[in-house]
């Protein structure tokens, strides 16, 4: 068996709300997860169980209280900011539910940006971006425009194109098929299957049960990590 690309061990998360009486809210404890190349693991659990929290700890925008979060050779729970930035540039991709971009930047450039950050020549980066936008049915006349004015579903597809532009060995997907029509949902599922085929290790959150059972090899129930549950 190959080594896991994403490996979490004994991870805990608490929130301390200093401005609300210093309330300390334990959210997760003893969380563990292991994803090998070519595998997709779905996070499940009731709303509020901590699926997104766990995913954000892997991305590094939520701090873990304890434990290790190994992603493609970097322990996100301990790494310096610049190590996490390097991880995100080359080895860890993320399709979040929200598109955050500098206003006025053309859609084509938004999608090409992760490749440009890696030093891919502009022409090749734009060609790859164009290919993905076309596959995700964003009309070509919209490519020179900023996605900030697009519909929710269009923004979601731009976000997906951006997340899949560079073939990262590890990938996080937060509701990638939400708010998509049947044809685009099919395209996204095909992109996920292709990423698995090239060996990507994927952690996903899917409320779409049919999508989940099609692309996920296993599921992990985040409720098992609720403090005091064991």
């Amino acid at each position: 068996m190959t080594d896991p690309v994403i490996h979490l061990e004994d991870v805990a998360k608490t929130f301390t709300l200093h401005n609300q009486g210093g309330a300390v809210i334990p959210v997760l404890e003893r969380a563990g997860l292991s994803v090998r190349p070519g595998e997709c693991v779905g996070l499940v659990g009731a709303s509020g169980a901590g699926k997104s929290t766990l995913m954000r700890m892997i991305w590094g925008n939520y701090l873990a209280a304890s434990g290790t979060i190994m992603v493609a050779g970097t322990d996100v729970a301990r790494a310096a900011p610049r190590e996490i930035l390097a991880l995100r540039r080359g080895r860890l991709g993320y399709v979040s539910q929200f598109l955050r971009v500098v206003p006025r930047v053309p859609t084509l450039d938004v999608v090409a940006e992760p490749l440009l950050d890696l030093g891919v020549p502009e022409e090749a980066a734009r060609a790859r971006a164009a290919e993905l936008l076309a596959r995700l049915r964003i009309p070509e006349r919209l490519w020179p425009l900023s996605p900030t004015t697009f519909s929710g579903g269009e923004q979601q597809r731009v976000n997906i194109a951006r997340g899949f532009a560079h073939p990262s060995p590890a990938l996080l997907l937060d509701e990638p098929t939400a708010s998509l029509d049947a044809a685009n949902r099919e395209t996204v599922l095909a992109l996920i299957e292709e990423a698995k085929a090239r060996g990507a290790a994927i952690v996903g959150i899917f409320h779409d049960e049919a999508a989940r059972s099609r692309v996920c090899d296993r599921v992990v129930n985040v409720s098992d990590f609720t403090p005091g549950a064991a």
């Binding site: 954000r56 925008n61 939520y62 900011p81 610049r82 996490i84 955050r100 500098v102 006025r104 440009l116």
Partner: protein, 256 residues
């Protein structure tokens, strides 16, 4: 890799009052660091100490110079520090009037900085100036106009061209998008991001605008009362703030 800038135990006092104290961090080539905090938190004082505009009372600001490697710029001889300010460093002021010569043409503003580092060929200076005006999206037929005839956004872009023409490696920015319309801000942000990526610049940006740092900065430092209360990856500090003050700062932003 050697950090471009290493700051250690930096302190500046105004009499008994603390400007900033106990500040330390490393900035690596290509990194953009944001400094946020409310008015009076010491962020501008800190920036002035880093850029050599103010002499700190204690601490070191070690810059990795091209020829001599890491040197403490606080104890460096004044002419040497001035040379750095003209070549490897750039300072973008909040008010373009502080960074431009208002009585000199746009082309002259850009060319002047080139001449300060020894450029003498008029034709080459003019064509370099033209190239930079183009990069900051100022039409070439405005090259002989004075900045006083420019809009606020154009003045700010001209100030950026004037600063970057000598190929600096470190750019200090004090509220670079403050005082501009939101649409002009967006244009400037896009421009700055592209320049930082293409030229591999490092930058320290002081601002109180959290949306600006989210889009521009890799890392964030939060200041309060002259002290650094929290540092980290920009999205981590904004999405999962640990310090009481940062939590207050983030939760006070109006959602749009």
């Amino acid at each position: 890799m050697t950090p471009l800038l290493q700051v250690r135990g930096l302190e500046k006092r105004y009499g008994a009052r603390i400007g900033c104290t106990g500040v330390g961090f490393d900035l690596y080539p290509g990194e953009v660091m944001g400094i946020v905090g409310e008015s009076g938190s010491g962020k501008s004082t800190l920036l002035s100490c880093l850029a050599g505009h103010l002499r700190p009372d204690a601490g070191q600001v070690i810059f990795d110079t091209r020829h001599k490697g890491p040197v403490d710029t606080v104890t460096m001889a004044e002419p040497e520090r001035r040379m750095l300010a003209r070549t490897d460093w750039a300072f973008v002021h909040q008010n373009p009037r502080d960074g431009l010569r208002m009585g000199v043409s746009a082309g002259g503003n850009v060319g002047e900085r080139l001449m300060a580092v020894g450029a003498r060929n008029y034709g080459r200076i003019r064509s370099t100036a033209e190239d930079w005006l183009g990069r900051v999206e100022i039409a070439s037929d405005r090259i002989d106009d004075r900045p006083s005839a420019f809009s606020g956004g154009m003045q700010q872009r001209l100030q950026i061209a004037r600063n970057l023409v000598t190929g600096p490696r470190l750019v200090f920015m004090d509220e670079p998008t403050g005082g501009l319309d939101v649409s002009v801000q967006a244009r400037l942000l896009d421009l700055l991001r592209g320049l930082v990526r293409r030229l591999g610049l490092s930058a320290v940006i002081v601002t109180h605008d959290l949306a600006v740092v989210r889009l521009l900065a890799d890392r964030l430092m939060v200041m309060k009362g002259g002290r650094v209360v929290e540092t980290g990856l920009t999205d981590q500090v904004l999405d999962d703030p640990q310090h009481a003050y940062t939590q207050l700062l983030v939760s006070s932003v109006l959602q749009v």
